[in-house]
């Protein structure tokens, strides 16, 4: 059952990512990215990381993608010409570079396949809100506060930069 779900979510994620890269329309790309992120959230659930799955849907598929769609709507971007229309030098180089990156990553993952750990038994307790909150508000309290400052600074900076008259 888990295997079938993994195959379903993985296929969905890869197909949505490919569709995002190949689509002409920016809005369609953003919507395919939402689909991709939802299927990654499903994979998090398969890994028993419930908290991160919910946060993924809320923050990524919710907040960040709404931001993206708002900016697309605001800028009224015209569609690009179809990506695969003319094969030029740049695309060839890009695809070759992509294949190099992929083979390198797979080589790293494959070369340490024997050293990879088996599935942990107590995983069901690790990904819960309780376990993460416990760790987050004791060991990681300082990074958490710094993250709060970072988010405030980012919001103020974003408003400053997006102002009409930038001084």
């Amino acid at each position: 059952m888990v295997t079938y779900l993994f195959i379903l979510f993985a296929t969905l994620a890869i197909a949505a990512a490919l569709a995002m890269v190949l689509n002409r329309s920016t809005v369609n790309s953003a919507l395919f990215l939402v689909l991709n992120m939802l299927s990654i959230a499903g994979i998090y659930l398969l890994l028993k990381a419930q908290f991160l799955a919910v946060v993924q849907v809320l923050v990524y598929a919710g907040a960040i993608m709404v931001l993206f769609l708002f900016v697309i709507m605001l800028l009224n971007v015209e569609d690009e010409e179809a990506v695969l229309d003319k094969i030029n030098f740049r695309y060839i180089i890009s695809v070759i570079l992509g294949v190099v990156v992929l083979s390198y990553l797979l080589y790293i993952a494959g070369s340490m396949a024997d050293a990879l750990p088996p599935v942990a038994e107590d995983m069901a307790q690790v990904g819960t809100v309780e376990a993460i909150g416990d760790e987050l508000f004791s060991t990681y309290i300082l990074p958490l506060e710094i993250t709060a400052i970072l988010l405030t600074a980012a919001v103020v900076g974003a408003i400053m930069m997006a102002q009409h008259k930038f001084k």
Binding site: V2, T3, A13, I14, A17, M20, V21, T26, A30, L33, N36, M37, I40, I43, Y44, L47, K48, A49, L52, V55, V59, Y60, I64, L67, F68, V71, L75, V77, E80, R90, Y91, V95, L97, G98, V99, L102, L105, L106, A109, L116, P117, V119, A120, V126, G127, A131, I132, E135, L136, P143, T147, L150, L151, A154, A158, I159, M160, M161, A162, H164
Partner: protein
């Protein structure tokens, strides 16, 4: 349960699609979305390592990376809006002020 290799392979494939997207597309917003896709792929490999080691620290790292991604999206989109206001375009071939 599926072996860790498959999660890592999925993460590698998603990362590669993101790399190819950044290199081929011309629209700054789509390039930005491809960067988000790469961030997601790395998060996926962190979560799968965390799950297979039974260790919560990987998931906390993903939580912080999500926060930084949110901040980065807000600032990046503000920069794109500012560029659009000056250039009336988000086509990266026409944004060449700092290019040699």
């Amino acid at each position: 349960m599926i072996a860790l290799d498959w999660y890592l392979a999925l993460s590698a494939i998603l990362f590669t699609i993101g790399v190819i997207g950044v290199l081929t597309r011309k629209n700054a917003i789509v390039i930005f979305m491809c960067a988000e896709l790469m961030l997601n792929a790395v998060n996926l490999s962190l979560v799968s390592f965390s799950a297979h080691l039974g260790d919560v620290h990987g998931q906390i790292l993903v939580f912080f990376s999500l926060c930084v991604a949110a901040a980065e999206a807000a600032v990046g989109l503000a920069i794109i809006i500012a560029i659009f206001r000056n250039n009336l375009s988000v086509d990266i071939t026409r944004i060449n002020l700092l290019r040699w």
